[in-house]
Subunit: 402 residues, 2 copies
């Protein structure tokens, strides 16, 4: 007998049939003699409906009221799933985020979990009930409802698994696991049996969009093994853990494309100490995350500073840089949005030379120009033109994974 | 400066335009220097949607999960109304039932309020905020969400007005007040300026459907003056209070029709002491409310016992009476569902003779046959054939109200 946390996203509980599909998975797990805590998101269309209702009222809602509104979504899905479980003869109870003991900080719409009081969940488990918990939500010290932001339900599930020392934390999605590339676009994409937390973090931040980064960070911090698997197809998924075994002959774990990239260049920045610090300090004040940075010599003791930011931050970045030109003595600021980032990830590349050159070779053979390069211990990213991105992913994938 | 509680039903917040209409009423009240607590129900279609979702899952949902599901409805409407108020520059905050301090007993789907902890509401009022409270819902001592059953939001509003010693409790509806008869059916129906709690209770239980009975009982108990008025048409409504002044020349306050009536007759019950007690004891065990009772002599030391029950209880009543015939020695049990109850209500009839005869005369002149009669201090009811009911209401109304 084990304690298993199972998380299902909004599309997995989208309608009656899908709810019963989830209820069957949960019931089978419970009937096999396990304690089960289920974490669910709001039904996909419920969230959309609520957002549309709010947009009709105002385009600048307060975070507190937005959280009050959106939290209703999970209350609906936990009640419906619990009804389905009960109708199948499985003893079950639903708990909102605050009933389940989630205490968060004050920041509405993107709250951080501060504490999880597991007393109620444990009491219900001791009564042999499946506990159906509303993901994504908690309560702050004002006794006000907060939500955890994007991917919050994954984080809720991992937090419960960590606090209860669960034997397994299963994240059910509409894909069968983590792939070496997007299987809808790359023919030879392979499902991974295992992947390390660090590799998963790099892939998630690169737009693989299987698991939310915060949940992977939390799982790594508390040593919670995750399993990513399909709610529709009952085959083994991908296990995310501290040290993942390498698959036969696979130097890398995945190739990912990220089109959420704006490339900004500041021309003719004076080449004196402290100028980069000033530029990035200005951006940091606006909470803009800078990703890849490239510095090239310019004319007459100046340099050109090129860096990437998320597309949504590009306009703010340009305007704040223009406004503060005097502070860093820079010249023209240019923006390009026709780029994409393509990356390979794998702990294996640390101990193998030639990984980067094999990647660049694949791009060269496909006649794709590289504009920027960035490397870390387990990742190599290149900035290339957006129109070449899908071809680049396929070429690189073919070069590493057969 | 006064403290005013304003309650708006589901149709008053049904869509964006109606929400802003409510927000304007509330804002104007607040801008005039008053403290305002607003109680809202779920949007009309939200409740319907949630009920439909539950019906898709199971036809026998647990009360606890049903309450979890339905409570989401008011969370949506309080968030939307608060956003609307804020967008108009009015400081406001939404509170769920439990945040507002509603503590109830354990009975899901029809919980009774046991306590109202007003600390949070008072704190928010002290910060000069309009407090928007979710009606209909509370929390039991298990920390589980409960709902108050039909008309629960009226009850929530009255409870808040009582606990805060509010100066006024306004119940906004889609009619302009309490009328002497259904204004859609009786041409000369008049809006009442005032009506007493007792008169309102009789009218509500007779199917006038303006105010929920529990809320009127609570208002009477705590001496909370209610005002029933329209959210769409800003004219004075009807005040419900302990002693209402009589309107010029009006002996009665209203004429009401109730078609939720089944008439049951048990033939040939032995005419010995205790038999009525046995019959009605059997029905009471099944929690069936008997309304009008008529006992007539039968043949050979027997009597016929005729009484009315709500239509929904008729089948249960017949079956339990058939099963227990031996206990009361009765004969054939007959059911008729083609009757209606028409009643007149008015505290004035206590001090005026001839009210009953004027009512019977109006029916006689319309050639309508009376099957049963029941009287109380402020009410006279007759059971007549359903097909005659609308004509009867009009004839009686014309006889009393000009």
């Amino acid at each position: 007998m084990a304690l298993i946390v199972q998380k299902f996203g909004g599309s997995s509980v989208a309608d009656r049939d899908r709810i019963f599909n989830v209820a069957r998975i949960v019931s089978n797990t419970h009937n096999a003699g396990n304690d089960v805590v289920v974490v669910v998101s709001a039904q996909g269309d419920t969230t959309d409906d609520l957002l549309a209702k709010a947009a009709e009222i105002t385009h600048d809602p307060s975070g507190r009221e937005m959280d009050m509104l959106l939290a209703a979504g999970e209350e609906i899905s936990i009640a419906l799933l619990t009804m389905a479980l009960q109708s199948m003869g499985t003893s079950a109870i639903s708990l909102t985020g605050w009933q389940a003991g989630f205490r968060t900080d004050q920041s509405y719409t993107k709250a951080r979990i501060q504490r999880l009081d597991t007393e109620r969940i444990e009491n219900e488990l001791n009564r042999n009930r499946v506990v159906v918990v509303a993901g994504f939500q908690g309560l702050n010290k004002m006794d006000d409802i907060t939500t955890l932001g994007r991917g919050g339900s994954d984080t809720s599930a991992v937090a419960i698994a960590a606090a209860l020392h669960a034997d397994r934390c299963q994240i059910f999605t509409d894909v069968e696991g983590v792939y070496t590339a997007d299987p809808r676009k790359v023919r030879n994409a392979k499902k991974l049996e295992e992947i390390s937390f660090d590799e998963m973090l790099e892939l998630a931040s690169l737009g693989a969009q299987v698991l939310n980064n915060r949940s992977v960070e939390l799982a790594k911090k508390y040593g919670v093994e995750l399993e990513v698997l399909s709610s529709l197809n009952p085959v083994p998924g991908t296990v995310v853990k501290e040290v993942a075994k390498d698959m036969e002959g696979m130097l890398i774990k995945g190739v990912a494309k990220d089109t959420d990239v704006a490339v900004i260049t500041i021309m003719d920045v004076p080449d004196v100490p402290g100028m980069s610090f000033k530029v990035f300090g200005i951006l940091a004040q606006k909470k803009i995350n800078v990703d890849i940075i490239l510095q090239a010599g310019g004319r007459d003791n100046t340099k050109d500073l090129t860096f990437t930011v998320p597309l949504g931050d590009a306009e703010t970045a340009i305007s704040v840089l223009e406004k503060n030109k005097a502070r860093y003595g820079g010249g023209n600021v240019k923006l390009r949005t026709d780029f994409a980032k393509v990356s390979i990830v794998g702990a294996g590349m640390q101990s193998h030379s030639g990984v980067a050159s094999r990647m660049f070779e694949a791009l060269y053979e496909s006649n794709i120009n590289i504009h920027m390069i960035s490397t870390s211990e387990i990742k190599i990213s290149v900035i290339i033109e957006k129109k070449d991105a899908d071809r680049a992913v396929e070429a690189i994938h073919d070069a590493f994974i057969h």
